[in-house]
């Protein structure tokens, strides 16, 4: 045991003397968390996306066509859609190409006349071909607005028909007709009160757990509680690779052989390497958690539970790297295999995209992987305030992977040391 500790301490001292590489790798999750916060937190905080720019091209230039942008820009959509007029199609195309707008609305010539003729008055919608999400949001909102407009127009149809009849006859309206048209608009106006009620029609969402929202933004800390653990584990796996590279290079340089002929047992040599990795990774995890707490205001609730998950993940990363170097013949080979494994684990484990967004099969796979399980466990503790007893399944998954990898690695490494 003492020999193992001496070997581990020796490796750790080397890292402490030149920590540049590890510090640089630690910066990756911190930087990515900062970028994701800057990109998405404002929208998460306000509960809506930034206003989407839409261009309007009025080819009709009539009273009715000029009402279209006014209708969009003055109602509840004004918070979501930012309108800008455009002179013609080529300039609209230029703006769309530069990403300055997400869609173009064209009110074609004859729009007002179509309304009077009781023909369908079309508004043309052109999504920015280089975008998908924003144009779809705009389309949904405009569909709703169109439905409401049609409902209101339907209520004013009688007086509109009366006007149309008079215009078609090309004669001045009689006094009775004027009175009837006025009464019709008055009735329609009274019914417009329904607009106030439409704003109050609500569809509440209720979830099995009783919560009403999928992701509730409770300040920056809740945002980071969601995204930071996945990024930390992504970074930690790369750090484990950098740490394990040193063991591999020692082996290639003959250092391990020299230790092996010294009065040190194989078990002590193996344990020394494993301790070094485990202690270094645990220290890095604790440091990242503290930095997260200080910089990102992450609330480290249930520190004991968090420590169990962290130790489990550090144990897994140790086992993974030991396994890779026990099977590799060269430093380059070890790096290639470890890099590929880390990438695949990160993709499947939800380091970049939340597992919730995955299709069911991929999600089930992700939750069975050590980093996916650890990610879910961290979120359960940091966001949902769960205790250790409630996250036993992911914790068991992490430790099962860790034990399996370490056991296989130790077996292979013992065999290699013997030969």
């Amino acid at each position: 045991m003492r020999t193992a500790a001496i070997i581990a301490a020796h490796h750790l001292k080397r890292i402490a003397r030149r920590p540049g590489l590890i510090l640089l790798l630690m910066a990756i999750p911190l930087t990515l968390a900062g970028i994701e916060y800057a990109a998405f937190a404002p929208a998460a905080a306000s509960g809506k996306l930034p206003p989407i720019k839409v261009l309007v091209l009025d080819e009709d230039r009539t009273f009715a066509s000029s009402a279209v942008p006014r209708l969009i820009g003055s109602g509840p959509l004004a918070d979501y859609i930012e309108l800008d007029t455009t002179a013609d199609v080529p300039s609209a195309r230029r703006s769309l190409q530069r990403g300055q707008a997400s869609a173009l609305l064209v009110v074609p010539q004859g729009f007002q006349q179509a309304l009077f003729d009781r023909r369908t008055a079309e508004i043309r919608f052109v999504p920015n071909p280089a975008q998908t999400i924003s144009p779809e949001i705009v389309r949904s909102m405009l569909e709703m607005l169109t439905a409401i407009t049609n409902g209101l127009l339907a209520r004013a149809q009688a007086p509109l028909d009366a006007i149309n009849k008079v215009v078609a006859a090309d004669r001045p309206p009689t006094e009775d007709e004027v009175a009837e048209i006025s009464r019709g608009f008055f009735r329609a106006g009274q019914q417009l009160q329904i607009l106030n009620q439409l704003q109050n029609l609500t569809v509440d969402v209720k979830r099995p757990s009783g919560t009403t929202q999928g992701f509730e933004f409770r300040g920056a800390s809740s945002f980071f509680a969601y995204i930071f653990p996945g990024l930390v584990m992504f970074g930690l796996m790369f750090i484990s690779q950098a740490l394990a590279t040193r063991l591999m290079r020692d082996r290639e340089a003959g250092l391990q052989r020299r230790i092996a002929i010294a009065p040190a047992s194989r078990a002590a040599i193996l344990a020394g390497g494993a301790f070094y990795l485990f202690v270094a990774l645990t220290v890095v995890l604790v440091l990242l958690a503290l930095i997260g707490s200080l910089v990102f205001r992450l609330k480290l609730t249930s520190p004991g539970t968090l420590l169990v998950i962290a130790l489990g993940f550090a144990f897994f990363a140790t086992g993974l790297q030991l396994l890779v170097i026990s099977m590799a013949r060269s430093d380059a080979g070890a790096q290639a295999v470890a890099g590929a494994l880390i990438m695949i684990l990160s993709l499947l484990g939800g380091a970049f995209v939340p597992l919730e967004s995955y299709p069911p099969v991929l999600r089930a796979i992700g939750e069975l992987l050590p980093n996916g399980a650890a990610h879910q466990a961290f979120i359960d503790v940091l966001v949902r305030q769960k205790m250790l007893g409630e996250i036993l399944r992911p914790v068991a998954i992490i430790f099962t992977w860790a034990l399996t990898f370490t056991a296989v690695a130790v077996t292979l490494e013992r065999r290699r040391l013997t030969t």
Partner: protein, 369 residues
């Protein structure tokens, strides 16, 4: 000639490294397929919504059901909420509230996590409720409920129709049409930067010293190093372009030569930046990590991980200031709008300036040891 020899020998050495080969040929495919499939546009499938009625009669439940069915939703009437099924609860006093033109609250029972499907269902329920208040008769008789679809069709006075500005619309920000170009840009940048950073290894192993004592001008050494990294960039580009066509059915740009020229400038600028990173660090591992860190930092900022349309104005502005952003915007313009040379010239110019600045600095900083 010396520069070409250095480039060729460097390229052979770099292409022998298994890690490099993995990141050039396997990494991009894994990322492209994974994210391409994850964000593939899903064909709209019919959602089933259960309506659970708590009102004294079923008039509102039936009317909402009819309007939802109009919107391609399959509706079933149910007695109770069932876990895992979209269910809409009609409150006890729904018909009375509707008759009095007072607002009502419906409850949608959703799954634990919010999803795109949930947002669609919620939107459709909200729309059905709105249409009911706009078009429904106060008494909600059986006849008026049955007549709702016809009434809605008659009421379609204003209609939103697809327009055309002479650009063929492709789902640019979804599926492989987004993941292939994005990861082309990302992996060219990453691999060229990391291979550029191996300059530090050249110094550490003494290779650079041997080159400097040979009768070769420094200019040729830099050019040779640049060309070898540029070649790696083009190997990556050619590989991704071919994969895009053969495996993912991507339609690349209409102006092929402009597209190739643009990617060439991007690869050269990335190679020069990689050389600069390699000259900044003594330790080869630190130099390689700095290159990875730079790539990972600039990829999301430039809109390679998520489209810039979903971020706020500040992040969009930052996206206009980084090389990955210039590359992605140029590629997007060519793919989505069939943009020509004049339209991508600003992005190409920005990359050319980066090439000149990075190459000048790298040349100045390059030392044998």
């Amino acid at each position: 000639m010396n520069a070409l020899s250095i480039a060729w020998l460097d390229l052979k050495r770099l292409m022998r490294e298994r890690t490099a080969l993995g990141w050039i040929f396997i990494g991009p495919v894994v990322f492209t397929i994974f994210f391409g499939m994850l964000f593939k546009p899903q064909p709209e499938r019919q959602t089933t919504v259960a309506i659970v009625n708590h009102d004294v009669d079923d008039r509102v439940a039936r009317a909402v059901g009819v309007l939802l069915e109009q919107d391609r939703v399959k509706v079933v009437q149910a007695q109770a909420i069932e876990a895992g099924r979209w269910s809409v609860e009609i409150p006890r006093d729904a018909a009375a509230l509707f008759a009095a033109a007072k607002p009502m609250r419906l409850t949608l029972h959703a799954r634990e996590e919010e999803s795109t499907e949930e947002r669609n269902v919620r939107f459709k329920v909200q729309k059905a409720l709105t249409l009911l208040y706009l078009h429904g008769d106060a008494d909600l008789s059986a006849e008026s409920i049955a007549a709702l679809p016809a009434r809605l069709a008659r009421a379609e006075i204003v209609a939103l129709k697809p327009g055309d500005i002479g650009v063929q619309h492709r789902p640019m920000t979804a599926g492989f049409q987004r993941s292939v170009p994005s990861y082309l840009v990302m992996f060219v940048f990453l691999n060229v930067l990391v291979s550029g950073a191996t300059i530090a290894a050249d110094r550490a192993t003494g290779r650079m010293r041997r080159l400097f004592i040979a009768p070769i001008r420094k200019r040729d050494i830099v050019l040779g190093k640049l060309l070898s990294r540029f070649a790696i960039g083009w190997i990556q580009i050619a590989y991704m372009l071919a994969l895009g066509v053969l495996l993912f059915g991507i339609r690349w740009a209409q102006h092929g030569w402009v597209f190739f020229g643009f990617l060439t400038i991007f690869a050269l600028a990335s190679a020069a930046l990689g050389l600069l990173v390699g000259t900044l660090f003594d330790d080869p591992d630190t130099a390689a990590s700095a290159a990875v860190w730079t790539s990972i930092l600039l990829a999301p900022l430039g809109g390679l991980w998520w489209p810039l349309e979903v971020v706020g104005p500040t992040m969009r502005t930052i996206g206009n200031l980084v090389p990955t952003g210039w590359a992605m915007q140029g590629v997007n313009a060519m793919l989505a709008f069939d943009a020509g040379a004049a339209e991508v010239a600003p992005f190409a110019l920005a990359l050319a300036v980066l090439l000149l600045v990075a190459l000048t600095l790298a040349t100045r900083r390059l030392r044998p040891a």
